[in-house]
């Protein structure tokens, strides 16, 4: 199959980029993990949110690899290396800074069965600054019930006008709430998050609403000096409103994706290895948008 590379006409690239813009960076894209929000805080499930916080004066460092694939009118593969720094202002108020390196590869067919255009971009992704306030906790033996609210801002550091763009170019705001029950044998989480997207270059991605539930089970009671495994199953949902470009709502944007995500944690003292795969079970996307095939996260985290 003939492939047209970067040396194809500039106007063709710009047209392709514009057509690609909404379905790749708007709509229910958050479910694909290609531009993740506050998904990874201390002791969360893999793709959702949790109220767990680090201790007063504690520092958490996480390095996370992400891999996503979506197919449809556009085929896209994304890879990201996300660094995250967490600081415990108090035992109930944490501040986090996430700074990713992102690679996006897209393949688009001009006509069915015809030529294809491959695009590849690598660079700094959008940074996210988040604060978490654990406003409630209650203890019963070794079990803990707690709740937190989360607020954050996405700072547009990524190249937004490239092909494919690495970010939306907009400043976005995040607000969420989460509760959990942490026990020696099992964990339960519930969380909701809204992402209010700003406008950039005359376009505004639709606001995103995420809702997650997760359950984690330990095969045995953990010890401090041994490896502590936790097996997880998450239910992740994201619903996005339509994107607006130059004041016009885009028909092929927004929608809902529901997914089931098995995962694991392996913790040894202050080190944790976490991983999971998000497998969509429902796509209800408006218009012709690529569907999420999978999203994988593998991360290593330490607290000091």
């Amino acid at each position: 199959m003939r492939q047209i590379r970067r040396n194809s006409g500039r106007s063709l690239i710009l047209s392709a980029a514009l057509v690609a813009l909404v379905p790749t960076t708007g709509g229910a894209q958050g479910a694909s993990g290609s531009s993740r929000g506050p998904d990874q805080l201390r002791h969360n499930p893999i793709f959702g949110l949790g109220p767990q916080t680090i201790w007063r004066g504690g520092v958490g460092v996480a390095l996370e690899g992400q891999f996503t694939q979506r197919t449809g009118a556009l085929e896209e593969r994304g890879r990201g290396l996300h660094g995250e720094l967490i600081y415990g202002i108090t035992q109930d108020v944490n501040l986090a800074l996430a700074f990713p390196l992102v690679q996006r590869r897209t393949r688009r067919g001009l006509v069915p069965g015809g030529a294809q255009i491959d695009r590849d971009a690598t660079g700094l992704g959008d940074a996210v600054i988040r604060a978490k306030w654990r406003f409630f906790h209650s203890f019963s033996g070794r079990t803990q019930y707690h709740a937190a609210v989360i607020g954050g801002v996405k700072v547009p550091l990524a190249e937004a006008s490239g092909d494919p763009p690495l970010g939306s170019g907009s400043t976005d705001f995040l607000a969420g709430a989460t509760v959990s029950r942490d026990g020696l044998r099992s964990y339960l989480w519930l969380s909701g998050l809204v992402r209010v997207n700003g406008e950039a270059f005359g376009r505004q991605l639709g606001n995103e609403y995420r809702y997650d539930a997760a359950v984690g089970v330990r095969p045995w009671i953990p010890t401090f000096r041994g490896i502590d495994p936790l097996l997880l199953v998450e239910f992740n949902g994201v619903t996005a409103a339509r994107a607006v470009v130059d004041g016009v709502a885009q028909s092929a944007s927004g929608g809902t994706i529901l997914a089931v995500s098995p995962g694991f944690w392996l913790t040894y003292r202050n080190w944790a290895l976490k991983g999971g795969i998000k497998l969509p079970v429902l796509h209800r996307l408006r218009g012709n948008q690529p569907e999420l095939d999978y999203a994988v996260i593998l991360s290593i985290e330490t607290h000091m």
């Binding site: 201390r42 906790h137 010890t223």
Partner: protein, 121 residues
């Protein structure tokens, strides 16, 4: 002569074993005199939690060693010589780690003294 021999033998045996017994006794006394505090903590359910508690408790002045047992939720602090760690510092440290203290017990303190200390604080 036989009685003298027996006495001499006993004296020799006593002389030879006496230092060993004293060492044992000394060790036992030393073991008994190790000052330890058992802190029962609520809500600690994972190694990260235990690590945070360990980090906070080991910064208390006078704490020489610390052993956290996740299964029981108990942190045992071993103190230096005659050092003591006040309840307020222990409670504050555990709170800073994000948890709560259920009970503090010292192996060098009677229940009566512990009660007095608790009512003082």
């Amino acid at each position: 002569m036989k009685a003298f021999g027996t006495t001499l033998l006993l004296a020799f045996a006593f002389g030879a074993t006496a230092p060993a017994l004293s060492a044992q006794q000394e060790s036992a006394v030393q073991e008994d005199s190790t000052r330890q505090i058992e802190v029962t903590i609520l809500g600690m359910s994972c190694p990260f939690c235990a690590y945070g508690v360990e980090q906070k408790l080991k910064r208390i002045e006078g704490v020489e060693d610390i052993e956290v047992v996740l299964e029981t939720g108990i942190a045992t602090l071993t103190l230096r010589d005659d050092a003591d760690a006040p309840n307020e510092r222990i409670i504050e440290a555990v709170k800073d780690a994000g948890f709560e203290v259920a009970k503090i017990a010292r192996n060098y303190e009677s229940e009566y003294t512990a009660f007095e200390r608790a009512t003082d604080t």
